[in-house]
């Protein structure tokens, strides 16, 4: 399985995990002050950051950077 497919599968999995219907009615507090539903989503933000950090590490679009540095027809550009 190639890297892009694995990244896509993990991304879809994270989309599903965002729904966390199992926490919907849970009014327990984590560390005595944080409702479970809020704590879960705060952790979710950290996991999202970690996920994108890994994506950048393993699937950075180097070929796009090389393409961008190539010469272009100046007649076809913007107004600069």
């Amino acid at each position: 399985m190639n890297k892009k497919r694995i990244i896509f599968i993990v991304f879809v999995l994270l989309l599903l995990l965002h729904q966390d219907f199992w926490n919907w009615d849970n009014a327990n507090l984590v560390f005595g002050f944080m409702p479970v539903g809020l704590f879960y989503h705060a952790c979710y933000s950290l996991v999202a950051a970690l996920f994108w950090g890994i994506v950048i590490k393993v699937a950075w679009p180097t070929e796009l950077e090389e393409w961008a540095e190539g010469t272009a027809d100046p007649q076809e550009g913007g107004t600069e």
Binding site: F11, L14, L15, H18, Q19, D20, F21, N23, W24, D25, N26, A27, L29, G32, F33, M34, P35, G37, L38, H41, A42, Y44, S45, L46, A48, A49, F51, W52, G53, V55, I56, W60, P61, L64, E65, W67, A68, E69, G70, A72, P74, E76, G77, G78, T79, E80
Partner: protein, 502 residues
């Protein structure tokens, strides 16, 4: 009065920073519009985060949590951590490459070239302006309500200016005017470079002040554990119960709204003009963390407020009331209020500047028969910005006369419109078969459905269809469908266009 002095000092510091950045201004229109492609990773992160997190993030999230409870964080913050970064990678980096190779500065320049249609810009520009307006309005309304909240009389304590208004507060029209003038001054001084510097400074300020407000409010409530114990139980879960909570369908379809970052004009401009692709790395990874740092405290303050403030209070005033009521020290109140203003102004500046850039490059200079000097170009951009600011200010005065202003809902309408336009940019970047007809169909269908839903909502209120589906989700599918059908029934793009962009 000390509170007002602290806020005035903050605004003075901001203007000083802008004047300093003016010394680096090279005086050319290119430098004014894109800071000569000199924005590095840290300033890009601060600019992107600062412009994305406006009154919506601080004032709106607190007010929304006061009404709907902890679900507020999942609705916008955690989903944004995943979706925003995906847009930065899938849309942002590809646009950077195209901007770098062909010299595009605005999204209209790119779409005109990609769909080989000059007229497309004239269709898209007014729609983008219209969709940005609610976003700009919430900034001015948020600032006005915040200042009013912290300066008005509280019980036996008189307001700051008892001889000026009945409640002693600084009137909203005055705050709105001052905010507009300050933002205009610093973007006039140094253009995009001043905006980037001011954004960086203001983003740091509002993040630090947000954490400070959280600490001080929790301390006054007896600590974080005591604070949450005083809050209503209905707000500690996401189940719909009484007036709190959100339905599962709403929670699911809110995932479409963060897609808006893919089409925001000012972010598009950042993508096209960033210094290098590597500049994006920090933004992609740190953005979800920055969102968490700002939103978790705000949502908790909103939940705590349910135990302190009567239900039905204007949601736009919750944060200001909590700060004003619980943080007794006027200097600290001033600092926290300055942080809120920082969040608001860091969004307004980029939006104003971007609209001026698009108007000048995409409407006036595009296909212009006359040659304009750099001075004339800058004059036109600034003139358009002043016109837009004036219109926004006047509309905000009308909205401020209403009993309640729903910053969260108004922002969501703006985000929903941009989110529904993302099929346009995805198709432009990744689908060779996407055509001009598809692009026109997509934009017209999205705008038509947005106007319809917006009117059905009563022009800015919270609105759902089919028992809880967000209009953004419906509009996104309408836009995607129009893009696909319009493209498939029309002639494919020319070989020249495909060779250029794929």
């Amino acid at each position: 009065m000390s509170t007002v002095i602290v806020i005035a000092i903050y605004l003075g510091l901001l203007l000083s920073l802008a004047l300093f950045s003016k010394r680096l201004f090279r005086g050319t229109s290119k430098d004014y519009f894109v800071a000569s492609h000199s924005i590095g990773p840290f300033m890009l992160l601060m600019s992107v985060f600062g412009t994305t997190m406006t009154a919506f993030a601080l004032v709106g999230s607190t007010g929304k949590a006061f009404g709907a409870g902890i679900g507020t964080y999942g609705l916008m913050a955690s989903s944004s951590g995943l979706i925003h970064a995906a847009c930065f990678l899938l849309i942002g980096i590809k646009l950077w490459a195209i901007g770098k190779r062909y010299g595009y500065v605005t999204q209209i320049q790119y779409f005109r070239a990609r769909f080989d249609s000059k007229a497309f810009g004239y269709l898209l520009f007014p729609i983008l302006v219209l969709l940005v307006i609610p976003y700009l309005l919430i900034g001015i309304i948020g600032a006005a309500k915040t200042i009013e909240g912290v300066t008005k009389a509280k019980g036996p304590i008189p307001g700051v200016f008892p001889e000026w208004t009945s409640n002693g507060a600084i009137p909203p029209w005055f705050t709105g005017l001052v905010i507009c003038i300050v933002v205009l001054t610093y973007i006039f001084a140094g253009g995009s470079r001043a905006a980037a510097w001011a954004n960086t400074f203001q983003t740091i300020v509002f993040m630090v002040m947000g954490v400070l407000a959280f600490y001080l409010i929790s301390d006054r409530l007896g600590g974080v554990s005591a604070a949450i114990e005083q809050a209503k139980d209905t707000h500690k879960v996401r189940t719909v119960d009484g007036h709190a909570g959100v339905s599962q369908l709403t929670f699911l379809t809110y995932m479409f709204i963060p897609l808006s970052v893919g089409m925001f004009p000012h972010l598009f401009q950042h993508w096209l003009t960033a210094k290098s692709a590597k500049s994006f790395k920090l933004t992609v990874v740190a953005h979800p963390i920055c969102i968490m740092i700002v939103w978790v405290p705000c949502v908790l303050i909103g939940i705590w407020a349910t135990g302190q403030i009567p239900a039905g209070t204007n949601p736009s005033a919750i944060l200001a009331i909590m700060v004003g009521k619980l943080v007794a020290d006027p200097i600290i109140v001033g600092l926290v209020t300055a942080g809120i203003l920082a969040a608001i102004m860091s969004s307004l500046d980029s939006q104003f500047l971007c609209l001026g850039t698009m108007f000048t490059n995409d409407i006036v200079l595009h296909d212009a028969k006359k040659t304009y000097t750099d001075k004339q170009t800058l004059f036109m951009a600034r003139g358009f910005i002043v016109a837009i600011v004036t219109v926004i200010y006047l509309i905000s005065l009308l909205l401020l006369q209403q009993e309640k202003q729903f910053i969260f809902s108004l922002a969501v309408w703006s985000f929903s419109g941009f989110a529904a336009l993302t099929p346009l940019v995805f198709a432009a970047l990744y689908w060779k078969r996407a055509t001009k007809v598809g692009a026109y169909a997509c934009v017209i269908a999205v705008f038509g459905s947005w106007v319809t839903f917006f009117a059905m909502s009563g022009f800015g209120g919270e609105f759902f269809v089919f028992g809880g589906v967000t209009p953004a989700a419906i509009m996104w599918f309408i836009g995607a469908g129009a893009m696909i059908i319009g493209s498939l029934v029309s002639q494919p793009p020319s070989e020249k266009v495909i060779a250029k962009f794929f």
